[in-house]
């Protein structure tokens, strides 16, 4: 009997239930994907280069963040579940159901909902993992032979984590419900909120909040040497500052606006302000968390995308695009495919201690190099000629640069053409290529290097600092970060926005009565809609504004890793804000559908209340 009641209860709020359920599915799907990619052995230990250690590290870091946010998210989802079912449970109990049976019902309902969502998420996660890993493999130019999408260990851990969370949530729900008097279960929705804030205390807290936030931003700008102080210091001050700003400052501002009657006595403004005041008070903690998550998510995307600038760095900091030292037919065939724009070839003879060059050849085709300088804070590179006269002078810049192109520590000697001919020793050549478009020819150039290495593994000394190798290193590193930042950012955004959405929607039943009253005293539907848009708009805007500020100041920390963390800031910001606004729009739609019922639905509700 109770089961039947329980099912009908769920059916009556099916749409809300569906939102919650799909939120949980998405959470477990993302979690599974992350875990699979992170712990899949064929991804971690492959043969391309050591730079995947970074990838490994970034994924581990990502998982920690993901566990944290999933935790917060699940707690909120659980409280939404509880608030949705509270009234029903209260009714069952008032009908005489034993609280132990109800307890069991709640427990199983929470656990079953959670487990089903997790399983659905994992199954969908297979698909997501397949797509994302493919993207990752092509992006990183990895050669992976047996990456498995269905990875039992990841399935296991995802199930363990989620079911543990739901188990815990279920116990929490049971305790909460069976210790609440039935009457407040039934009437929870009408419980008036209390705001016992003294204006002076409010003002003091508001100023305090601003000071703390300011201090946090100041700390973020401290010299990076104080790194160990910066992170905890900034975290504490910013969290506390954000909390007080929501709890005191925003409420003070609303009180101020309410007193300015020229402003507030217009249309539904007093109502919107009153709603906001109570909402902000209720949601202070959540909004604080959300603004931090917003900062993390936006920061992750910004930093992730910024890592691509490292690739430009690789491209700009090395002059020659490729080095060719072998004249085997296979290599020649590949070189012929390149879009070469210039080619400089030098011949030399190798003795036991020395490398002999023809001065002539080097004079005709001067060696070039890139030289770093600072333009403001940004490192830039300019092309310079290596001085011919210094090439054979040990410990000069020109000599060092030339040696590294040759991959040898032997002495460089300059001789005349005729003198060179008469020298004995092994003959070599060094061909330095520039191509029209590095990115376009990059795969071919990597292949040329691999072909040459196959002929003689010794060449590695020479290629170590070549552009393709450096570029590959940086691009693995940065693509890993880029991908990670982007994906974590999106995962965070999804969860933080749904957390806000859940919070708003879980109070919707209570708000519905309010909108009903406004409708009764003659507020036009359009006026109600506008009021909702404004109210929720501000609710979404506040954590976003603080989150954006956090990111703007927080990016300073990445000066260590990135040449210019603020480069092309508008790209990640635009992507992120557009998605966030999308969430806002969806929340409005769902909320309006609940609180602004059709004429017919409105009557039913009234009848039920009467």
């Amino acid at each position: 009997m109770l089961w039947k009641l329980s099912l009908t209860g769920i059916k009556s709020r099916f749409k809300d239930y569906l939102i919650l359920f799909s939120g949980l599915v998405v959470a477990s799907m993302i979690f599974y994907m992350f875990l699979t990619i992170a712990i899949n052995p064929s991804f971690i230990s492959h043969d391309v280069s050591a730079s995947t250690d970074y990838l490994n590290f970034t994924f581990a870091f990502g998982i920690v963040l993901l566990v944290l946010i999933t935790f917060v998210y699940l707690i909120n989802a659980n409280s939404l579940l509880l608030s949705m079912r509270k009234h029903d449970y209260g009714m069952f109990m008032s009908l005489g159901a034993k609280s132990r049976r109800i307890g069991l019902l709640i427990f199983l309902e929470t656990l079953i909902t959670g487990t089903l969502a997790t399983i659905a998420g994992i199954i969908l996660g297979f698909g997501l993992t397949a797509i994302v890993s493919q993207l990752l493999i092509t992006k990183l130019n990895l050669q992976i032979t047996h990456f498995v999408v269905i990875y039992p260990q990841a399935i296991g851990w995802t199930l363990v984590f989620f079911i543990f969370m739901f188990f815990w949530g279920a116990i929490h729900n049971v305790r909460k419900l069976t210790h609440t008097p039935i009457i407040s279960l039934l009437k929870e929705d009408q419980k008036p909120a209390k705001l016992g804030h003294h204006p002076v205390r409010l003002a003091v807290e508001a100023v305090f909040g601003l000071l703390l936030l300011g201090a946090g931003y100041y700390i973020l700008g401290l010299p990076l040497g104080m790194f160990l102080l910066i992170i905890p210091g900034a975290l504490i001050t910013i969290v506390a500052g954000t909390y007080f700003i929501f709890n005191a400052m925003c409420i003070s501002v609303i009180n101020f606006l309410l007193k300015r009657k020229k402003f507030s006595y217009r249309g539904l403004r007093i109502f919107t302000l009153g709603q906001l005041k109570f909402r902000l008070h209720d949601l202070t903690k959540i909004l604080t968390i959300i603004s931090l998550l917003f900062a993390l998510a936006l920061g992750a995307i910004t930093v992730g995308l910024n890592f691509t600038t490292l690739k430009d760095l690789a491209n700009e900091s090395i002059y020659y695009d490729n080095i060719v030292v072998s004249s085997s037919p296979a290599v020649k065939k590949e070189v012929a495919k390149l879009h070469v724009s210039s080619e400089q070839t030098y011949h030399y003879k190798e003795s036991r201690k020395n490398l002999y060059f023809m001065r002539d050849e080097l004079k005709k085709q001067p060696l070039k190099d890139k030289k770093a300088y600072l333009a403001g804070h940004e490192p830039r590179y300019k092309t310079v000629n290596l001085a011919l006269s210094q090439l054979d002078k040990p410990d000069t810049h020109a000599n060092n640069a030339f040696s590294s192109l040759l991959g040898s520590s032997k002495k460089i000697k300059m001789v005349s053409r005729s003198g060179w001919r008469s020298l004995s020793g092994k003959r070599h050549f060094l061909s330095l290529l520039s191509v029209k478009d590095f990115e376009q020819d990059y795969p071919a150039m990597l292949k040329i290097q691999q072909l040459q290495l196959k002929e003689n593994p010794h060449y590695i000394n020479q290629f170590n600092e070549s552009k393709p190798v450096f570029y590959q290193l940086i691009s693995n590193f940065s693509s890993g970060f880029e991908f990670m930042g982007f994906f974590l950012g999106l995962a965070f955004l999804t969860m933080l926005a749904s957390t806000l959405m859940f919070k708003v929607l879980s109070g919707a039943a209570r708000d519905q009565i309010r909108y009903q009253m406004l409708y009764q005293i003659g507020a036009r539907a359009q006026v109600l809609r506008t009021s909702i848009k404004n109210e929720l708009g501000i609710l979404f805007l506040l954590p976003a504004v603080l989150g954006i500020l956090d990111v703007l100041f927080g990016l300073k920390l990445f000066r260590i890793l990135l040449p210019n963390p603020y480069h092309h800031l508008w790209i990640p910001f635009t992507i992120f804000i557009v998605l966030y606004i999308g969430y806002y729009a969806i929340t409005i739609k769902l909320y309006q559908r609940i609180v602004l019922p059709e004429q017919e639905k409105a009557k039913e509700k009234k009848q039920a209340l009467a």
């Binding site: 009657k261 403004r269 109502f271 009153g274 003659g522």
Partner: protein, 249 residues
């Protein structure tokens, strides 16, 4: 005497065609003149709330017409209806229907701000009605901080602040203790007599009904006979009403 409200052959059937249908109102006819205090009395389930929702334009009759100030409600679109409600009608409900996130003053000001009354004129209008209802002391409190009787006065102030053509009340004393109920009814009667506020109240409570100048009886969705107070003192009108009800059974 001008006619404020006219109800003409109103029926209301719940349930869509093809589904189980229930006719809650079966042809209601009556009129209320300006300055009258009319009570519609009936048992629970007799259709009182249904009728009041139709009068207040929150719901549409299945057939028939409602005229307020000679205006046919059915000829108005949704926005016109909203404007009509905000100008012509004042409501009091059993469960107060105050917005608990607004102070009492803000609650009362709301109908005026919705109508676009200039901000400078709002507070004087609010002050006038609240001193008339003796609730000036609690204006800066929230509804949750005052008693049920006071809440209902705030609701009454909100219903009257914009000087509607008619005050509609649905069991206004239903959630009050008997002392607060008496006080509210005294006030409503006082407002009716001294401020000529046209009032239509639905109730199942004979005591509440006895404060009216005319009582209509509703039963099974139909209006039966009516009882006029004429020059009787309220107490005697009450006894007459009880006798009348006793004879019915």
């Amino acid at each position: 005497m001008t006619e404020i409200l006219r109800v003409d052959q109103v029926t209301k059937t719940y349930g869509k065609r093809g589904e189980k249908q229930y006719q809650a109102l079966k042809g209601i006819n009556f009129a209320v003149n300006s300055g009258e205090f009319v009570a519609i009395m009936g048992a629970s389930g007799s259709g009182k709330t249904t009728l009041l929702n139709i009068l207040s334009t929150l719901d549409k009759p299945t057939t028939g017409h409602v005229f307020i100030n000679q205006q046919d409600n059915s000829s108005l679109n949704a926005n016109q209806l909203a404007d009509f409600r905000s100008k012509q009608i004042g409501f009091i409900f059993q469960d107060f229907n105050l917005l608990e996130n607004l102070t009492n003053r803000e609650n009362i000001a709301l109908p005026l701000t919705l109508q676009g009354v200039p901000a400078s004129r709002i507070d004087p209008l609010v002050d006038r009605i609240t001193s008339r209802l003796s609730i000036t002391q609690i204006m800066n409190k929230y509804p949750a901080e005052v008693s049920g009787g006071q809440k209902q006065r705030v609701a009454a102030a909100r219903a009257l602040v914009h000087e509607p053509a008619i005050l509609l009340a649905d069991e206004p004393t239903g959630a009050l203790d008997s002392k607060s109920a008496r006080e509210l009814l005294d006030t409503m009667s006082d407002l009716n007599i001294n401020d000529s506020i046209t009032t239509l109240m639905v109730t199942h409570d004979p005591l509440a009904a006895s404060f009216a100048s005319r009582i209509l009886f509703i039963k099974d969705g139909k209006i039966g006979e009516q009882l006029l107070k004429q020059e009787l003192p309220r107490r005697e009108f009450y006894h007459q009403l009880i006798e009348h009800l006793g004879a019915e059974v």
